[in-house]
C-alpha cells in the first residue's frame, strides 16, 4: 500500500494533460481514485447509519410505542391474485402511531380505506399498514393551499 501511494503521488505531481504514463503508474492512479470514491461514500454510509440509530433512539425515547405498526390482520385483506403486484409500503410513510392509537381507528374507517384501495388500484392488493398522519405531514394540506394561492396570483 505504501508503494502504491508513493507511485500515485509521484504520478499526480508529474502528469500533465498530454503526459505519457506507464501502465503501472496508470493502475496506481486509478486505484487511488477508486479508493477516494469508496472511502468517501463508505464514510458517508457509516455516518448515516450512526445518525439513523441516534435519531431512532431519540424518537423512541419520546414515544416508547411509536415504532409499533398496525397489525395487518386488523384490516380487511383481499387475497392476492397470482402474478398481480402487491402494494409496497412507501418510504415516505407518515410517522407511525403507537399501538393505542391504531386500535382507535374504527373498523368502518378501515373498511372504507380497503374499499378505496380496491376501487382505485383494483383487485389483488392487500393493505399492509394504516398509519395516522402526524407531525410534519400535517402541514401538507396547508402547504397545498399556499401553493394554490401563490399560483393564482401574479407575483410582482
Amino acid at each position: 500500500m505504501h508503494d502504491v501511494t508513493y507511485l500515485a503521488h509521484s504520478f499526480l505531481a508529474s502528469v500533465d494533460v498530454d503526459g505519457k504514463l506507464t501502465f503501472s503508474q496508470d493502475l496506481a492512479y486509478q486505484a487511488v481514485g477508486i479508493m477516494a470514491v469508496l472511502g468517501s461514500l463508505a464514510s458517508i454510509a457509516v455516518i448515516l447509519s450512526v445518525l439513523a440509530q441516534v435519531l431512532n433512539r431519540s424518537k423512541s425515547r419520546k414515544s416508547p410505542a411509536a415504532d409499533k405498526i398496525a397489525e395487518p390482520s386488523q384490516v380487511p385483506q383481499v387475497p392476492p391474485v397470482p402474478g398481480a403486484p402487491t402494494a409496497v409500503a412507501s418510504t415516505d410513510a407518515p410517522a407511525v402511531v403507537n399501538s393505542s392509537d391504531s386500535s382507535q381507528i374504527p373498523p368502518g374507517v378501515r373498511a372504507a380505506i380497503a374499499a378505496a384501495v380496491h376501487v382505485t388500484l383494483g383487485a389483488g392488493y392487500r393493505v399492509l399498514e394504516i398509519s395516522q398522519v402526524s407531525g410534519d405531514k400535517l402541514q401538507i394540506w396547508s402547504m397545498e393551499g399556499r401553493r394554490q394561492i401563490f399560483q393564482s396570483h401574479r407575483v410582482r
Binding site: 496508470d26 492512479y29 477508486i34 477516494a36 454510509a45 448515516l48 435519531l55 418510504t91
Partner: protein, 449 residues
C-alpha cells in the same frame, strides 16, 4: 443579369458547403430520428442534434467571436505584421503571422471581429507564448449568439445548474433507508477507472481518457463538465455517446445482469425500506456537501448545486424555488446546454477516428460500471445478514431512473412478486454522487496546460 445573380449566389452559403457538412447533416438526421421516433433521451438529443445542424451550415456567424485583443495562437516567433497600429480591419482579415517553435510552421493570426488595431505589443522577431497578447484591439462588433451561449459550458455554468434541478428532483430517501447501497454507487465507478486504462492504451492522453471514461458514470452533466475542462475537442462525441448509451441502458444492462448473477440471487427479497424523516434528509445533505467538497474541492460546483437543490426540496419551506429548479431552470438550461454542445459538432471535430473509439469505449464503460455494481453487491452479501439482491447493484450507474427500472424489470422476471424499484433507487442516486466525486478527482489531479 445572370452575372448579377451568380454574384449574389457567391454571397450565399451554398458555395461554402463541404462534404463534411453534408455527412453531418445525415448524422443530425439519425440523431433526430433516434430522439423523436425511438425516444432516445429526446430532451438532450434534440437540442444537441439541432445545434449540430446549425454548426454545419456555413456563414451563419452563430459562433463568431466578438472583437478582442489579438492573441498568439502558438508559442513561437512573430514572423510578420500585415497591419499598422491605428489601422482598421475586418473580421477574418489576416493581421500577423507567427512561426510555431515546435512544428516549425507559420500560423496566421486573423482579426476576430471588425475594429481597429490600436497598439502593437510585439515586433517581428520577438518570442511570444501561446495566448500572449500581440496587439490591442478596439471593436464594437458583437459575437454570434452561440458564442455567448457556449460560455455556459466553457465557464462551467450550465452543468451545475442542471445539477440544481437534479437535486430538486431527487429523493434520497431509499438511499438513506439503507446507507450501505452507497458502496454500490461507488463500485460502479470501477467501470470508469477501467475505461480510463483502456483509453490510455488506445493512445488517448490522460485528459482525454478521463473525459471518455466518465461516460461510464452515465451522468450527462458531469461528462460535459469534465470534457469541457480536460478535452473540449472531444466534447461533442462524448456528449452524444453518453446520452445515447443512457437511452440504451435497457439493452446494455440485462445480459450482463443475467451473466453475473444466479437465479437464486435474482430472487432475493429485500426487507421493506424504513421511513426516513425530514431531519435525516437535511443532515444528509449537509454531510455530503461538507465531506465531498473537502475531499475533492474541484467537484464543489457539481456537488454543491446538487445538494442545494435537494435541500430546497427537503426543507419544505421553499416550494416556489423547488418548482423553479425542477421546471423552469432545468428546462431552460437543458435547451442552452444541448444546443451549445451541438454547436461544437462540426464535421472537422466529429468525423474523426477518435469518435468511433469513443463510441466503442463508451459501451465498455457502461458495461464495466454495471458489472462493478453487481459484483460489489455479491461481495457485500458475503458479510451481510440481510442480503442485497445483486440486481440493484447495476443501478449504481447514475442513469436515473432508467437503471433502477431495469433492476425492477429483471427482478420481476425472476420473481413476479419481487419489486426492486425503490431498493434500486438507492444505488441509482448514490451513483450520481460517486460520479461527481471521481470527476472531481480527475479534475484535481490532471493538470491542464
Amino acid at each position: 443579369m445572370i452575372q448579377d445573380f451568380w454574384n449574389f449566389l457567391q454571397l450565399t452559403g451554398f458555395p461554402q458547403v463541404t462534404w463534411q457538412m453534408m455527412v453531418m447533416w445525415a448524422v443530425v438526421g439519425v440523431l433526430l430520428y433516434l430522439a423523436v421516433y425511438k425516444g432516445f433521451e429526446p430532451l438532450l438529443l434534440v437540442p444537441i442534434a439541432f445545434g449540430a445542424l446549425l454548426a454545419n451550415l456555413p456563414l451563419s456567424g452563430l459562433m463568431n467571436e466578438p472583437g478582442g485583443p489579438l492573441l498568439s495562437p502558438v508559442s513561437g516567433i512573430v514572423e510578420k505584421w500585415h497591419v499598422l497600429a491605428g489601422q482598421e480591419v475586418e473580421r477574418g482579415e489576416l493581421v500577423a503571422e507567427v512561426r510555431d517553435s515546435e512544428e516549425n510552421r507559420v500560423v496566421p493570426v486573423t482579426a476576430l471581429g471588425g475594429g481597429k488595431v490600436t497598439l502593437l505589443h510585439s515586433l517581428p522577431g520577438d518570442q511570444v507564448n501561446e495566448g500572449q497578447q500581440l496587439a490591442s484591439f478596439y471593436g464594437e462588433e458583437a459575437g454570434g449568439l452561440f458564442y455567448y451561449l457556449t460560455r455556459g459550458i466553457k465557464w462551467e455554468i450550465f452543468p451545475p445548474l442542471i445539477f440544481l434541478g437534479v437535486g430538486a428532483l431527487t429523493d434520497f430517501g431509499p438511499l438513506l433507508a439503507r446507507p450501505i447501497v452507497l458502496l454500490l454507487g461507488a463500485a460502479a465507478q470501477i467501470g470508469v477507472a477501467l475505461t480510463f486504462l483502456g483509453a490510455m492504451l488506445f493512445g488517448f492522453t490522460p485528459g482525454e481518457s478521463a473525459s471518455v471514461a466518465i461516460i461510464g458514470g452515465a451522468d450527462g452533466p458531469t461528462a460535459i463538465f469534465l470534457s469541457a475542462k480536460l478535452a473540449p475537442h472531444l466534447l461533442p462525441a462524448i456528449a452524444v455517446a453518453a446520452y445515447s448509451y443512457m437511452a440504451l441502458v435497457p439493452l446494455i444492462q440485462p445480459p450482463i445482469m443475467r451473466l453475473l448473477t444466479t437465479k437464486s440471487e435474482r430472487k432475493i427479497r429485500m426487507k421493506s425500506l424504513r421511513p426516513v424523516g425530514k431531519l435525516e434528509k437535511l443532515l444528509f445533505v449537509m454531510l455530503v456537501t461538507i465531506l465531498c467538497i473537502l475531499l475533492v474541492p474541484a467537484a464543489a460546483s457539481l456537488i454543491g448545486m446538487l445538494m442545494l437543490g435537494n435541500f430546497l426540496r427537503e426543507c419544505g419551506v421553499t416550494e416556489r424555488l423547488v418548482k423553479a429548479s425542477q421546471n423552469e431552470i432545468i428546462n431552460v438550461v437543458t435547451i442552452f446546454l444541448g444546443t451549445s454542445v451541438g454547436i461544437t459538432m462540426t464535421g472537422e471535430r466529429f468525423l474523426r477516428p477518435e469518435t468511433l473509439m469513443i463510441i466503442g469505449l463508451g459501451v465498455f464503460a457502461f458495461a464495466a460500471s454495471t458489472a462493478g455494481g453487481l459484483l460489489m453487491a455479491k461481495f457485500l452479501n458475503l458479510f451481510l445478514k440481510e442480503k442485497i439482491n445483486p440486481l440493484i447493484g447495476s443501478a449504481g450507474v447514475s442513469a436515473v431512473p432508467m437503471a433502477a427500472r431495469v433492476s425492477q424489470t429483471e427482478g420481476l422476471r425472476a420473481d413476479p412478486n419481487n419489486h426492486l424499484l425503490m431498493h434500486a433507487m438507492g444505488p441509482n442516486v448514490a451513483g450520481v454522487i460517486g460520479t461527481a466525486v471521481i470527476a472531481g478527482y480527475y479534475l484535481a489531479t490532471i493538470l491542464v496546460r
